[in-house]
Amino acid sequence: MNRLKQAADNALRDLTVSPALREAVWNRIREEEASAAPRKGRKWVAVLLAAVLSLLAVFPAAAAVSPTANNWLFALSPSLAERLYPVNRTVTENGIALTVHYAANDDRRAMIFLTLCDTQKKNRLAADTDLMDSYSLKGAGSHIACTSELLQYDSDTQTAVYCLSLAGHKRLSGKMTVLSLLRFMSGKTVQEYYNTGFACGAYATEKEAATTLQKVKNRGAVGYDQVLSDDTPLLETDQTEIAIPGFEPAVISNIGYLDGKLHIQTRWSASFDNHGSLCLVKKGADAMDEDNTIEPAGVQYRTAEDEAASDGSVYQKHIEYIFPVSPQELAQYDLWAEYTLDGTVTEGEWEVNFRLEQAESRELTVPASLASSATVSTLGLDVGGSRAGTEALAEVQLTGGDTIAVKPLLVDKSLSQLLSDSSDLSYTFPAPIDLNDIQTITLDGTCIYQKDANSAPGGTTSER
């Protein structure tokens, strides 16, 4: 510390921040938050998660954790959450608070941002928490298909942030939507492919078929039409019990040759979602590749005993792996395996009602040589009759210098477009964007929108 500072601090050492002054600061902040007036119109704000992470990187002592949805929402405006639908609707079950923070639809796509928070701090949530497809959305009178993505996990507050993505529709906005969740799983065990060292050849003798594929119940097949058919023979179930070294979720319940192919039948103990696979890999290989690996076809099914051992969402099952390999060829291969084991499952009946807000959108004026039309909304960009090619990258530069680069997720070609070599391209942003923060938009390197301080931006704004 330099001498001026030291001298000044010494002379002023009795001038310190009193508790009253500290409290006065907080009173000012609260007053400002309470009096912050909503901006005109519906103004969507958003931030790139990466920008929030970089913010947290410079406050290691104060906030050395991933951002929660609250941080994300407040990234541009402290009073943001007050203006967003559904205004933080929360339901708490089993000590887990599910909060829907934001939901919007622009007719092409819709996004719902929600958090799960373990209010009892029992570490039931984690960076790998899987909603197990146990969530559902119901709106406009019918179930709505959607996918979920875990965006961030904050270990301090034990809060996980998710984005549900679904196809947008005119009928979605303003209608009551119900999000239900039944369970989630954290802390799965994942074992990547490894050489089990199991000597298949010692057990693989000729067997007689016990049944065929079409006769087994609750079946699913991988490799059907290519390798399998209704008449594919299967082994008698549960004729043995042989452990595969290191393979925790299942045991070999029968093994042998049928119709010149190696069948390895496995019985999987009851689980929510244990899964895995077996492969044959050339002896001596350190890693799997196309040339040294034989992948099996597979048939999964449940016997009556499996059903009896199952309970609700926890299932016992059989999987029979079928390898097109002769006994002579088999001697050149090792059995490799990979698997994922259930983690901790937390159950509840979370149900939240909310309404999706109609996202603000704006039509853009685009060069006719590039496309017929373009519309940008807070959720994405849609380009009609694009001649830019189906891999055309869209880049959106925001105020402050951040740039979003997005590849098209959906490409449609009408009949006339097939002949004209043009496509309808849709781009979905990783997070909602405030349209007023857009500086430029480029498509395949060509600028299709530029915010000009001296004139109105190209295009017209609409809120349907």
């Binding site: 330099n2 500072k5 310190t16 002054l21 931030v47 929030v52």
Partner: protein
């Protein structure tokens, strides 16, 4: 009971900043505005602005630099609004503050006696440990302007602070 703040994480961050830098910010405000009450008002305004700007902070400077820059701009605004009395005789103002018992207040008196534009660069450079580049950015002036002001301020201080005189070179490029 006051309403809880909407963002606990943001509030925790500001609380941590107040704990770490609060005293320094308050003293900076006092040295700038020469009045304890004005300094406390500026202190509140500084942390209010920091709270509001926190989500936009991108880390292009250190946290301390960012916070002190906010304080400097608050003080400038407050100074120009209220124009506290100048002290031609280098005495400490009658602003409810006395130097700590037994401490030499020569430096404080000398700094307080400077004109505002010299005082602010001296405070930001020596008290707030900001680089010339960061000071220029905070005050919205050029780096060369900051360098010139610092040189002139040092010349003025040199007369009153002979035994305190510090000879550190003023580097224009660091930040």
């Amino acid at each position: 009971m006051p309403a809880p703040l909407a963002n606990n994480r943001q509030a925790q961050t500001i609380e941590a900043l107040m704990a770490e830098h609060g005293d320094g910010i308050l003293r900076l405000c006092y040295l700038y505005l020469k009045d304890v009450q004005l300094a406390e008002d500026a202190f509140q305004e500084t942390f209010l602005r920091a709270y509001q700007a926190l989500p936009k902070f991108k880390g292009t400077s250190s946290v301390k630099t960012w916070l002190y820059a906010i304080a400097a701009n608050v003080c400038r605004s407050e100074y120009r609004k209220k124009k506290p009395l100048a002290f031609s005789d280098c005495t400490l103002p009658e602003a409810g503050y006395e130097p700590a018992m037994g401490e030499d207040d020569t430096v404080v008196r000398a700094v307080l006696a400077l004109d505002e534009k010299y005082r602010e660069v001296i405070l930001l450079f020596y008290y707030s440990d900001m680089s010339v580049k960061d000071i220029a950015r905070a005050l919205h002036v050029s780096s060369s302007a900051v360098t010139v002001r610092l040189s002139r301020a040092r010349e003025k201080l040199k007369k009153d602070l002979k035994e305190w005189y510090f000879d550190e070179p003023i580097e224009t490029g660091c930040g």
